[in-house]
Symmetry: C2
Subunit: 612 residues, 2 copies
């Protein structure tokens, strides 16, 4: 049963999201990138999360009347943690209600004009005095007097005198740090772009950024073509060592994919490749190494040593990208053999180290990164979560793209929403979590992850849901959650096992990191969930399947989206952010879970869904 979503528009930002009826405003706002503060944990008692409906207001609850009074309720004010969206609505979120710490920082960074726009690349339109007998300073130094000291490559210097004279000593200097990368005819300061990429094991996401305004102009995602060699990093490492030219082949594949994505970004935004002067990349260690054509064999062997740790700044053409001829590519620094620039990106954009109290960042991807900050110390680990959350290895799984079911609720029957509307084509990570949690709640699945046969189902289960349980092709039970174009979409027993592996690995990793710091889950003041695998995970569902520690109250859990991409954008837009990233990578301690004596036991235990 496909439930129609309703449109919610937030003011004054003008952002629009589509949510299922019944969604709390706080959730809808979060999905719109406008997290709302709820200090009381959503109990409707503190009255801090006031929002005002301009239209589509639901009836106020008793808690709301108590907290804000009848007069305000009549004026459309509601509490975001209480009010549920019932129909199309327009809602104002006053600044006082905006989440004030990490969420706010993130929201500002990820959306709208960034405050911290000071990129390595800058363009300066200059009008220089033409040389005379009394003023015969050299061309480069004449330009430097206007734009500051610069270094220059031979190629640019060979062109510069002609360009200067061709344009009557007027034109646009393009600088990367203090390097003159071009001198363009006329005023081209309006065309100054960069691309930021999250290079995941399974998924690639790219963003075209206007480096002047700090704004995103286009975004695109694609499958990492290397998945044909296997869906985890170990498969890529194995492939890299399979033949002498295999590393170059893997490099060429990802570079081609990135190149095609850049073409799409340029088409979409109407931007020319030559006006892209820098690219920034965040990925796990294996992905970053492969993009650079670095042999990754040693990442598959004890003691898993990467070739480098610091961020790399390389000519984009050397990694096979055709942007501006002298564009650079910056790869975020890495922490260790399995904790890469994506984790650093997460630490960077969430400002994890600045949060008060023990805080955890979980970046859910094929390679799951976990970073714990406690008493100023950053501990980072990675787990081979597998690609389940990105839709791979799940029979009806898919990326969070058009046609993907991204939310599922089991009421009398299955209700779901589809990205972009229309018929469902599969389900993405968030819906997978929803479905597993709902199956647990409904008693259709045991805590051990066994799907019950039709004759084992609880008597209390309604007929519509019970009818969805059937024997799959393998003879084991499966749950049909949707039908589209005559095709049945079902969750199989095998799918559940994949999910258990993925969630269990992350949960075990969290446990080891906490133990290493002498903490228990209840000590966590903040848990930030990152990942580009879906929009927002339902916290209760994530806890129900053990992806998040059940001991952590809901209000301490925040969703920070694709921090890998956000971090790549941040370092593209700010050299200061680049320096912070380098410092973070140097400061963090790499905890190698696979070498921890307790990990295998913790993993085995974490495979069981938590008791409720």
């Amino acid at each position: 049963m496909h439930t129609k979503e309703v449109k919610v528009t937030f003011q004054p930002h003008g952002r629009t999201v589509y949510v299922l009826p019944g969604t709390k405003v706080v959730e809808a706002a979060a999905r719109g990138g406008l997290p709302v503060e709820a200090p009381c944990g959503g109990n409707g008692t503190c009255g801090k999360c006031r929002v005002q409906f301009a239209s589509g207001a639901p009836d106020p609850t008793e808690a709301e009347r108590r907290a804000i009074g009848d007069a305000d309720c009549n004026a459309g004010w509601r509490l975001a943690c209480q009010a549920a969206v019932a129909e199309e609505a327009v809602i104002s979120v006053p600044p006082a209600s905006r989440a004030s710490d990490v969420h706010k920082i993130l929201a500002e960074r990820q959306t709208g004009p960034a405050e911290d726009v000071a990129p390595a690349v800058r363009k300066v339109h200059v009008r220089l005095d033409e040389p005379t007998l009394d003023d015969h300073v050299a061309d480069l130094e004449r330009l430097a007097a206007a734009v500051g000291d610069v270094t220059v490559s031979l190629e640019v210097l060979r062109e510069l005198p002609r360009r200067l004279r061709g344009g009557a000593f007027t034109g646009t200097a393009v600088l990367t740090d203090h390097r003159l990368v071009d001198f363009e005819t006329g005023d081209t300061t309006g065309e100054c772009y960069g691309v930021a990429f999250d290079i995941g094991t399974t998924t690639l996401v790219g963003s075209l950024m206007d480096l002047r305004a700090g704004e995103e102009r286009a975004i695109v995602s694609a499958m990492n073509p290397q998945v044909r060699f296997g869906d985890d990093v170990l498969s890529r490492i194995a492939r890299s060592g399979a033949c002498p030219e295999c590393t170059d082949e893997l490099q060429g594949e990802i570079a081609s994919a990135v190149g095609e994505m850049i073409d799409q970004l340029c088409d979409e935004a109407g931007v020319r490749r030559e006006h892209i002067y820098e690219a920034a990349f965040a990925g796990n260690t294996t992905m970053e190494h492969l993009l650079c054509g670095l042999d990754v064999t040693q990442l598959g062997e004890v003691p898993f040593v990467p070739a480098h740790r610091c961020g790399l700044l390389v000519p984009a053409e050397r990694i096979g990208l055709s942007l501006h001829a002298r564009a650079s590519a910056y790869l975020l620094p890495i922490i260790g053999g399995f904790v890469g620039g994506d984790a650093v990106a997460g630490m960077l954009v969430t400002r994890l180290g600045e949060l008060e109290g023990p805080s955890l960042l979980i970046d859910i991807g094929t390679n799951g990164e976990i970073v714990l900050v406690h008493d100023g110390a950053l501990r980072a680990a990675s787990t081979a979560a597998g690609p389940a959350f990105e839709g791979a290895r799940i029979s009806c799984g898919m990326r969070a793209a058009r046609g993907a079911i991204e939310k599922i609720v089991l009421n009398d029957d299955v209700e779901y929403s589809v990205i972009g509307g229309g018929e469902p084509a599969g389900l993405c990570g968030t819906a997978l979590i929803d479905l597993a949690a709902e199956l647990l709640r409904a008693g259709i699945m045991t805590p051990e992850g066994r799907l019950l046969r039709g004759d084992e189902l609880p008597d209390t289960l309604g007929e519509p849901l019970a009818a969805r349980v059937r024997a799959g092709d393998d003879g084991q039970p499966e749950f049909v959650f949707a039908e589209a174009d005559g095709r049945r979409l079902a969750l199989t027993q095998r799918d559940v096992r994949e999910l258990q592996l993925a969630a269990g690995a992350l949960r075990a990793g969290v446990g080891i990191l906490l133990a290493d710091a002498g903490l228990s889950p209840g000590d966590l003041q903040r848990v930030l969930i990152a990942g580009g695998f879906g929009s927002f995970v339902r916290r209760s569902n994530a806890q129900r399947i053990g992806l998040l520690p059940p001991e952590v109250p809901h209000e301490r859990v925040g969703f920070v989206g694709n921090t890998s991409l956000a971090g790549a954008k941040a370092v593209l837009l700010s050299v200061a952010a680049r320096r912070r990233a380098e410092q973070l990578a140097a400061d963090a301690t790499h905890v190698q879970l696979s070498q921890d004596a307790n990990f295998q036991m913790a993993f085995a235990e974490a495979m069981i869904f938590p008791k409720q």
Copy 2:
């Protein structure tokens, strides 16, 4: 009449020179790169220039007996300014007699191990701990812990992990500044070379330097192949603009010539090209621009603006040199359109700015550079002296190479010495100056530069010399100074005119610079003569033909050799020297002689040889 030269060996340095009998020890020592202090100006009165003959001592003069006493005279002590070499001799020069200021600095810099050896390139042999589970720091950072922070190109990083593991984490890091350019197997610290080049309009001189010891391992010279387009910089500038690919063609020609010279240097010293990690070049602005493939058209047009002023550090391969794959080439900074890195090199190695009192550096080449320092201000100018001093445009002219007459004296007949002994093939710049001066002294040539006909010769002239004057092919008189293999070597009237142009241009330039600083020639406390065109110019002869101001006492004139090459060596051996060179180029004022209203008049006047 070819006079046999005698061998003089200086101790404790072991240096050997060949000089004509009658040469003063001070002159012979200077030619051996061991300038001797003569504060009294060579009058034999101060006794400061004591040297001790171990063999071949001439009889002491009266002045010597007075200055040092009979006992010391009997022990072989003489005054270098008085004693003339008569036969093969071995002479000790005590440290106290060595020239103490600029000469000494220069002598030390140009010969033997330099004190200031701190090149950009360094090699470090390392033995690193192999990674373990407890020590899994990245490869590059492991190396950096041993050699200091480094940057790295993708090419090196791609190789590093394999090289480290191939050599059990032992090997030699090659660093240029803080850039890791290679990691070589085994201990290769003994093989660390650079090349320094003086790239002249007419002549190229290259030197292979051991960067560890700071010692020269081989030296080679060749003709600049671009001379086929003409022998002055204006001809190259014209050629550069003659067709779209002409600049590249000129670039390719000089790069090929330099490449061949590097081959010769490597052959001679038994060094592999891959062990040459840096190259340094000094030349005039046009030559440096052309080596870099920079269009020089604008150097031929008012207001003669160069493309850049600062020194350039470029990948050697980008200018077509195959040294180590990641070797750099450094080109000395330039001062203006016609005053280039060669002048900066001269200022650098002579430490011109540190001399007390107004001082002048004259670099005699096809492009003659003049730098005046006065009250801390550096003024630099260039004159189109033409290639006469390098042997070009002179009918019997040649470079100062084997077979060149390099010294001529007219006594009863012509006496000369030939570089390397044997039959003469022509005369080089120093002998040209000698010959002109001697012809003036003997009355065979008028101060206006006219060679007298046989019937005009003074009666006092002896028969052997008079017989050498004859009518040339053009009907004008010429002076036959040698015969070899049945071929007569003669100085023609046209040769004299070329010399007048060359000397006049330099003399006029000196006059303008002095006037600009409010000085007269007599104010000069130091005149340093640089140039690779011959060994040492006889000062009195240079003054007689007006190349040096006659008002300057002999003892204030010093010869500093090829400072362009010396400067290239200095910046190869020392990054501090590189910084000093950049500062000097920035501090110096470029005086454009061609734009000086008085230059043409001064030039016309300077064409006349000075009255004695």
